[in-house]
Subunit: 196 residues, 2 copies
Amino acid sequence: MAGRKRVRNPASKDMILAAAERVVTQQGPGKLTLDAVAREAGLSKGGLLYNFPSKQTLIQGMILDHVERHRSRYEELRGARAGEPDSAICALIEARKAAGIERGVGLAMLAGLAEDPELLSPLRAEMRKVLDEIRENATDPMVATIVWLAIDGLEFMELLDISPFDDKQRENIESQLTGFIESGCGAASEAKGDFK
Amino acid sequence: MAGRKRVRNPASKDMILAAAERVVTQQGPGKLTLDAVAREAGLSKGGLLYNFPSKQTLIQGMILDHVERHRSRYEELRGARAGEPDSAICALIEARKAAGIERGVGLAMLAGLAEDPELLSPLRAEMRKVLDEIRENATDPMVATIVWLAIDGLEFMELLDISPFDDKQRENIESQLTGFIESGCGAASEAKGDFK
DNA sequence: GTCTCTATACCGTCCAGCCGGTATAAATAA
DNA sequence: TTATTTATACCGGCTGGACGGTATAGAGAC
């Protein structure tokens, strides 16, 4: 049944997810309403609810979509370093640099948390998975873990818009992080200079 | 005006703040409503709104209260290390260990973000202040910064309840973090053992 | 009396979800 | 081919409830 669906317009779901992301980034998690998403997607509320039968499923869709995209990006980058030590954590740093922050999904997460904390459970699973992968091939699991935590800390701060770093400092930090990984993640740690 | 208030019952505000924290921890940020807080505080809605004329001011109160308490705890701990290098970051790690996570305020932050992103600005200011202090007396500002980020990352994860660490692992990480500070934060890094 | 504080009732708004209806297209039958 | 049925996809009005905030009156302290 899954594969045999008739699907006149499978793009609708993607369009809706994109619209929802736009809404949440522009208006904040408190303004993520079905009406707003429908309007932004150029769709009626009924049409929206046809594709996502509830607000929860919509948010769940946003989160799952993000987890999937993030994972494929990460795995691609990791594939390029196949066999190297610290490939997992290094790929993760790279993925973050490449994607910038995806504020939309983060804010969707927050909206989801307000709605129902359980919505974050796929994220929890992904976290665990990523951490395991990182530790598995890290030359120093503890260092890798801390670097991972730092990355996430930075990301959360920017999500909440309370980060005290400007763009330049953030880039500097990201560069320095690779320096903490013993293998150096391939690139030598330049920019060792002043942080202040 | 601020200092001359008659304040017959300054305890009300504290009771309300405590109740609000209970509500938000038990029910989640989406359920932080005036009615719920009033009920939890054993107070009528009118009484609540007398003390905090709007939901925003209530949340603001929660955040400010937290910032103040956190800061005084931090400064106390830092005072005990007056003159030492890395006193700031070390005191911060200690403060975190001592207080555990204060889930209530964190979740209040999120509720505030949904309400009005501007509510987080005192937090942003505090972040900047703390970071400056950390860097100022750090033997290696970059390391201290990253340790700080890692602490916050851990805290955010636990706030959202997506942390992949159990209590033992978390404690281990916290201990290890001090090891990254050059001065070692006084305590030698024991527990260097297996992380897995 | 007056000031501080609390209680109750109420209002307006917002919003999730529901539901009857419509249009299109494929399948089936004649 | 044409008529009938069925499934897909979407529309938009409606409603019931929740929630923030207001109005007003009353209790207790000074």
